[in-house]
């Protein structure tokens, strides 16, 4: 036992969490005593005796868990223990519950953890749909309903969509660029472990007096500054989730810039790498703004500051500006990695090079730049500066151009391709194009000020966001998970169950979210537990399809779990893809490569005889056939 406590791990982590909490608690008491305040006084929304331990306890846990051991030795000037790589990789399931620095283990940890949060967030959504199945009050009180939609959104955004992309990329990106690992493996592990902490904080808010945070995922001030205690859990949890995604993004950027295999110049990078490069630029630049906004709300709540207190000279609208300056780029943080996944899948399964590869990459960069200029289209009715409306409308409509380029390029890739739809991944990628286009078009509609004013705060907004986030991001996540499942587990999933999941998801998505456009246009307000009886029929319809959508996800989970354990062996390259991660074994070796591969061509040279993307270590030049010249004939 004593030895177990000295070793980094769960015992030491638990003790660290307790010590961290105690440190935070007594820090508050000490500071209050120093300032001559009552040492234990809990103000109406303040609760500093809980908020500060909420921040210090996770750090205590991480200290105990071993996240900082190496850095502590370094900081103290002691000899650092060189990595003997014995902790690398995972040989048994317990290895996934350790502070593991292998990018493949971290990727798996990310995907599994975030899928758990997907399940939780989905259950919250189904509770909402049960409440909304008919007018009047069904299963929850109006206040609880507010808490449900707030936690649903926060969990789905901060703990599912953003991190699951980071997880998939964590697994495949270093392999794709021919790197042995990420640039900062310890930071990588730390950013993963911040994530469950954020999740626990969000979910723990249900235990707070006054219920969970219920000011929406946007947490607008002054609603949030005056909200019950649960709101502080949101403010603190976002800091952990945000720090996690900033650290990961930084890691991706450094990895992509400095660790590419020889020969892999920018125009030979797979589009998934381009997509994560652009996403990471957004995360590093924008996420600090949400951290700042939540700090300000927390300061207002706990320290009695006046950022958003009108009577004290504060500015209420500034919250929305600062918040949306992050949160609009955030929707691209949630979409660009999906664009990358879809480009990989469509090219591979249509057996054609990506149409307009360079323009696809430049369109990503264009979206990054433009997405910093459109935040105020969320605020057309907020009472902001009226002169800002039209410029923001123009940039909002402009951002549809690079997005349209991507959609047309995918269509161009499919055009005259040898399209294989035997894979569920490809089905999801194709359904993504259709669904996302619909969601994108309603986005363009919303960019237009008069229409936006008409449908503000109605179900039209809910329909739009779910078409782009569920029909867009989540479809690409499913596509990505199906596509790389054989690589990650070495086994093949069941295509029949995959098809059931696919058709159920598509029908469920359209059945749930299409009618929302209509009742939204009609004026049904969002974020309210009750509604006028005239919307009753459509809401019942929506709820039925929402439950179909929810139920069919169980097929997905069953398929994943059972195939992981019992599926047939997949082979190294079941999709006959060109990118480097498919040229190693499935699952990949612990250190990815014996020798770093050499990149000799583009990643999507399907149909060119003899064309190679990479030459793996161990191959000699003689084995590489010379590319044969081909005569191009018109189709």
């Amino acid at each position: 036992m004593a030895a177990a406590i000295k070793q980094p791990g769960w015992y030491r982590g638990a003790i660290g969490a307790l010590l961290g909490a105690a440190f935070g608690f007594f820090l508050v008491i000490g500071l209050r005593a120093l300032m001559g305040l009552d040492i234990y006084q809990t103000e109406q929304t303040g609760y500093p005796h809980i908020v500060v331990p909420l921040i210090t306890a996770p750090f205590g846990f991480l200290f105990g868990f071993g996240a900082f051991d190496y850095w502590f030795r370094w900081a103290a000037g002691k000899p650092t223990i060189p990595d003997d790589h014995s902790a690398h990789g995972a040989t048994k399931w317990q290895d996934y519950f350790k502070f593991n620095t292998d990018h493949k283990v971290i990727g798996t940890q990310y995907v599994v953890t975030t899928l758990m949060f997907f399940l939780i967030g989905g259950l919250l959504a189904l509770m909402m749909r049960a409440e909304l199945a008919s007018p009047g009050s069904q299963i929850v009180a109006a206040n609880t309903f507010n808490g449900l939609f707030s936690t649903h959104a926060v969990i789905m955004i901060f703990l599912f969509i953003i991190p699951v992309f980071a997880g998939l990329a964590n697994y495949v990106l270093p392999l794709m660029i021919g790197a042995p690992d990420m640039a900062f493996p310890r930071l990588n592990a730390l950013s993963f472990w911040l994530l469950p902490i954020a999740g626990i904080i969000f979910i723990a808010s249900f235990l707070a007096p006054g219920g969970s945070f219920d000011a929406g995922w946007t947490g607008y001030a002054p609603l949030s500054t005056g909200a019950p205690f649960g709101q502080s859990f949101f403010n603190v949890g976002v800091q952990f989730a945000g720090a996690s995604s900033i650290a990961t993004a930084l890691n991706f950027l450094v990895t992509i810039i400095t660790m590419r295999a020889p020969g892999m110049n920018l125009w030979r990078m797979p589009l998934l790498v381009w997509a994560n490069l652009s996403t990471s630029l957004l995360v590093v630049g924008a996420t600090p703004f949400v951290a700042g906004a939540q700090f300000m709300v927390l300061f207002d709540r706990v320290l009695g500051m006046n950022f958003f207190q009108f009577l004290e000279g504060g500015d209420v609208i500034s919250y929305q500006h600062i918040f949306w300056f992050y949160s609009h780029p955030a929707v691209y943080i949630m979409m660009l990695p999906g664009f990358g996944i879809v480009s990989e899948i469509i090219s591979t399964h249509a057996r054609k090079p990506v149409f307009g590869y360079r323009l696809m990459a430049l369109a990503l960069i264009g979206i990054v730049v433009l997405s910093y200029t459109v935040w105020a289209h969320h605020m057309f009715v907020a009472g902001m500066f009226s002169w800002l409306r039209v410029p923001i409308m123009i940039t909002t409509l402009l951002i549809a151009v690079p997005t349209g380029i991507k959609i047309f390029s995918w269509l161009g890739t499919l055009f005259y391709g040898k399209i294989h739809v035997y894979s569920t991944a490809m089905l999801f990628a194709l359904a993504f194009i259709v669904t996302f286009t619909v969601g994108g078009i309603s986005g363009v509609m919303l960019g237009m000020i008069p229409l936006d004013i008409h449908v503000s705060d109605t179900y039209f907004i809910v329909a739009h966001i779910h078409f782009v986030l569920f029909g867009g991001s989540v479809f690409t996540i499913f596509a990505g998970i199906y596509h790389w499942f054989p690589k990650m587990t070495g086994r093949m999933y069941d295509e029949k169950l995959g098809r059931i999941h696919f058709w159920g998801t598509v029908i469920g998505t359209w059945g749930t979210f299409v009618p929302m456009h209509w009742i939204g246009m009609d004026g049904m307000p969002r974020r309210v537990a009750d509604y006028a009886s005239q919307y009753g029929d459509w809401n019942l319809f929506i709820s039925v399809f929402a439950f179909i959508l929810g139920a069919v996800q169980l097929v997905f989970f069953y398929n994943m779990i059972v195939s992981w354990r019992f599926g047939p062996k997949a082979g190294d390259n079941p999709w006959r893809a060109n990118t480097i991660e498919w040229q190693v074994s499935s699952p990949p070796p612990v250190f990815n490569f014996d020798e770093i591969p050499r990149v000799v061509g583009g990643p999507y040279e399907f149909g060119t005889p003899g064309a190679r993307h990479a030459i793996m270590g161990g191959e000699t030049a003689a084995e590489i056939p010379e590319p044969k010249p081909t005569t191009v004939t018109a189709p």
């Binding site: 370094w74 900081a75 103290a76 000037g77 000899p79 650092t80 223990i81 060189p82 990595d83 003997d84 790589h85 014995s86 690398h88 042995p180 690992d181 900062f184 900033i246 930084l250 890691n251 950027l253 450094v254 810039i257 400095t258 660790m259 590419r260 295999a261 892999m264 590093v284 630049g285 924008a286 996420t287 600090p288 703004f289 951290a291 700042g292 906004a293 300000m296 300061f299 320290l303 009695g304 500051m305 006046n306 950022f307 207190q309 004290e312 000279g313 504060g314 500015d315 609208i317 500034s318 500006h321 600062i322 300056f325 612990v590 250190f591 990815n592 490569f593 014996d594 770093i596 270590g617």
Partner: protein, 210 residues
Amino acid sequence: MESASVALGHGHDAEDHHHGPPEANQSARIDRTVLGILLFILSEIMLFGAFFAAYFFLRVVVSPEAWPPVGIELPVLVAGINTVVLVSSSFTVHYALEAIKRGNHRGLKLGLGITWLLGATFLFIQINEYVHIGFTPRDGAFGTIFFSLTGLHGAHVFIGLLLLTFANIRAWRGHFGPEQKDHLGVEVPGIYWHFVDIMWIVVFLAIYII
């Protein structure tokens, strides 16, 4: 750092020929750690950006009659002296880095030590200023944004000081050398320190001067 490593875990079986991952290809001239700290600083700048946005909303958009409010006198002279203290510490940390690049360990220790002292002086003067300033973060929007911006910067000085403390410890133990990979432990805290410095000039101009 290299010299500080002790040999552990090099007793693998002969059959285990994988002693670790292959060396990654270096596809950019910039060092990984240096690029990492630069990107981290980019996100830090954006965090300051959020608070500066709040500052200009409170000052320009709300447009109070007097800024700072009547009855509040900011100690511009003290803050000005503090600015000189912090700016000079940027030069000393640069001196330390230049010294170790030439293998001058005495210069390194001298430079890092003086930098640390200057940084600590800055923090001490700032805390002293807080105690005697005569208003609190709860006193109106001005009190809020004054303490938030200077406090946010103070927290960064504190973190920079921690990094410098580590660099000092290792410098005294003779762990740094003229090769770049051997003095990243000086270079990286140094870059961060320059950022803290430049950020202070911006904060100082925004709060005390304009």
